[in-house]
């Protein structure tokens, strides 16, 4: 790690994503850095995107605080966090609309903003609020962007036909953009982002403002292009959508990466071995037969046929689990699910964000 004050190289150790206090051995300057996520490397290696200690301040507001992570080619990365967490700031730094105060962003080995033009050849970007000059028709706007991206007219024509058909928008090709609905505008925004077949697709809230059918369609398209090798980085507030399409997830809060990894990796932290979720084939009329098992602390009824069994930590054992299972079967139930409580992304998100708020 290089000291931002004197430039000398300092060694920093810690676990991935840990925020570490560092004192420069040469100039004595103190600072805080987040260690890179697991799998990231100093050179881009086999990563397409590498963010290292990316920091951005708006006057006195620290919008992004030493954010580090890396993305591999072909993966779909979902970036989630509450309003004002710094998602759009991260995206704008990646595409070069903002300049960072500290850290660096590498895309396919090119560094932003030094190699901006090279990076701009590789990326497709959908801003949060997509806007075109109102006098343009859809066709004219797409042709202009295609030409500016260095495409030939024949290729642009071929891609426009292909993409408008994919998004079921062929009928709006000659319409003025000012005549389009919000959802159509969003989809045309996606078309312009995909037009030049970018290596990295950066989408800021791509599913916002779309009806359920269009959301399903766009999610399928994102999955399809990722299978074809395009890396997709997208931010969203709609957690179920992130869960549906993201291969890895990053949770951002107050400018910090709170969690980074696959959904399963993220769940590990909050999977409680002391709480079991039990789902049976019909309703529980009484759960006292479970509470009476020795070692059970309490039983919480979630639905008619679902309960959470809280076990005393000191009594938690395979033997206790077996006893519970036997009791359930003896009571005449058929077991549908019997496993440690594993949160969904909604619960996980709340947990990570709440941890930070309470800290």
């Amino acid at each position: 790690m290089r000291c931002p004050s004197c430039g000398s190289v300092q060694s920093v150790s810690g676990s991935p994503l840990e925020s570490v206090e560092v004192v420069c051995a040469t100039c004595g300057k103190k600072g805080r850095v987040s260690l890179p996520a697991e799998g990231s490397s100093r050179d881009t290696g086999n990563n397409l995107v590498v963010l290292e200690n990316l920091t951005k301040r708006y006057k006195h507001l620290l919008a992004l605080d030493h954010v580090s992570f890396s993305l591999k080619p072909g993966e779909v990365f979902g970036y989630i966090g509450p309003n004002g967490a710094g998602k759009t700031t991260t995206i704008k730094l990646m595409v070069g609309l903002l300049s960072e105060d500290e850290g660096r962003c590498l895309i396919d080995g090119f560094e932003m903003p030094k190699d901006k033009i090279n990076i701009h050849r590789l990326i497709g970007y959908l801003p949060q609020n997509v806007s075109f000059q109102s006098w343009r028709t859809v066709d004219h706007a797409l042709f202009s962007f295609g030409r500016l991206s260095g495409m030939s007219d024949e290729k642009i024509e071929q891609r426009i036909v292909e993409l408008l058909k994919l998004f079921e928008l062929s009928h709006v090709r000659e319409k003025k953009v000012s005549e389009l609905s919000g959802g159509m505008m969003q989809k045309i925004g996606l078309v312009q982002a995909l037009l030049h077949e970018p290596k990295l697709l950066i989408l800021d809230e791509p599913l916002a403002g779309l009806d359920p059918e269009s959301r399903f369609k766009v999610k399928e398209i994102i999955k399809k292009i990722s299978r074809q090798g395009t890396t997709v980085f997208f931010s969203s507030h709609i957690l179920s959508d992130v869960q549906d399409i993201a291969s890895r997830i990053g949770i951002l809060n107050y400018g910090h990466i709170e969690a980074f990894g696959t959904l399963e990796q993220l769940k590990q932290k909050f999977v409680s071995k002391h709480v079991l979720e039990l789902e049976v084939d019909h309703s529980f009329s009484d759960v006292s037969f479970l509470s009476s098992v020795s070692g059970v602390d309490s039983v919480e009824k979630i639905k008619d046929n679902v309960v959470r069994i809280h076990m005393r930590k000191e009594d938690d054992s395979d033997e206790l689990r077996n006893k519970l299972l036997v009791s359930v079967l003896e009571a005449g139930f058929k077991v549908r699910k019997f496993a440690p409580l594993s949160p969904n992304l909604d619960e996980l998100y709340q947990a990570y964000v709440a941890v930070e708020v309470n800290a």
Partner: protein, 221 residues
């Protein structure tokens, strides 16, 4: 075709599509004729060509300045630039293509207004073409120089203004006054005044454009 040419042609197409060109190319010459024929006796005896030059100098510059400032502020506010700035082009190309397109449009409007004036004057007065041409050469150069400065000031105002309202106020306060700079050699009756008019116009325009591009490059979107 390079990015600059693409953007320049796009801007021209935008003016054409949004009918701005019609208002400029028809409006300015029409206004000059209306003033000439529908005026009080105070304007009697002033050749239409000279009136057109004066009109273009005063209105054309302000129009160019306002058009550029409002267009840039509006596009900044609506975040239209985001989709351009993430493509492999330089930021200066965006600003310069806008300047060139507006300058060309207003320049053509100026030429149309003045040529129309010359035609009417030659037909109506006993003065020959050369005499009329001599009379309007200096005001014509002045109008182009003033339009250049006003357009560059419009770009600068567009880049720095936070809202359309502030932009319009700045255009009224600053745009018109700055663009009158090249008229100083004529006001003070300096020698080689035409060359000085051209020099002042070019230098001021280049400086204003340089400052605009510098600030636009630094701008965070």
């Amino acid at each position: 075709m390079n990015s600059f040419s693409l953007l320049f042609l796009d801007e021209l197409k935008g003016f054409y599509k949004s009918k701005v060109m019609v208002f400029l190319w028809v409006g300015l010459p029409l206004l000059a004729i209306l003033l000439h024929y529908g005026s009080s006796s105070d304007l009697d005896g002033i050749p239409l060509s000279l009136l057109s030059s004066l009109l273009v100098s005063s209105i054309g510059g302000t129009l160019a300045s306002a058009m550029l400032a409002v267009s840039i502020i509006h596009e900044k506010e609506r975040r239209t630039y985001d989709l351009f700035l993430i493509r492999p082009l330089q930021r200066w190309e965006l600003m310069l293509s806008k300047f060139c397109a507006v300058y060309l449009c207003v320049g053509i409007a100026s030429v149309l207004a003045i040529v129309l004036g010359v035609v009417v004057d030659v037909m109506q007065s006993p003065l020959g073409f050369e005499a009329v041409f001599e009379m309007i050469a200096e005001p014509f150069v002045l109008s182009l120089a003033m339009t250049g400065i006003a357009s560059a000031a419009g770009v600068l105002i567009g880049v720095v203004s936070p809202s359309v309202l502030v932009g319009v106020i700045l255009v009224i306060y600053i745009g018109g006054n700055v663009s009158s700079l090249p008229s100083l050699p004529l006001v003070f009756g300096m020698e080689n005044s035409t060359a000085l008019v051209v020099g002042a116009g070019v230098v001021a325009t280049v400086l204003l454009l340089y400052l605009s591009v510098y600030l636009f490059n630094k701008k965070q979107f």
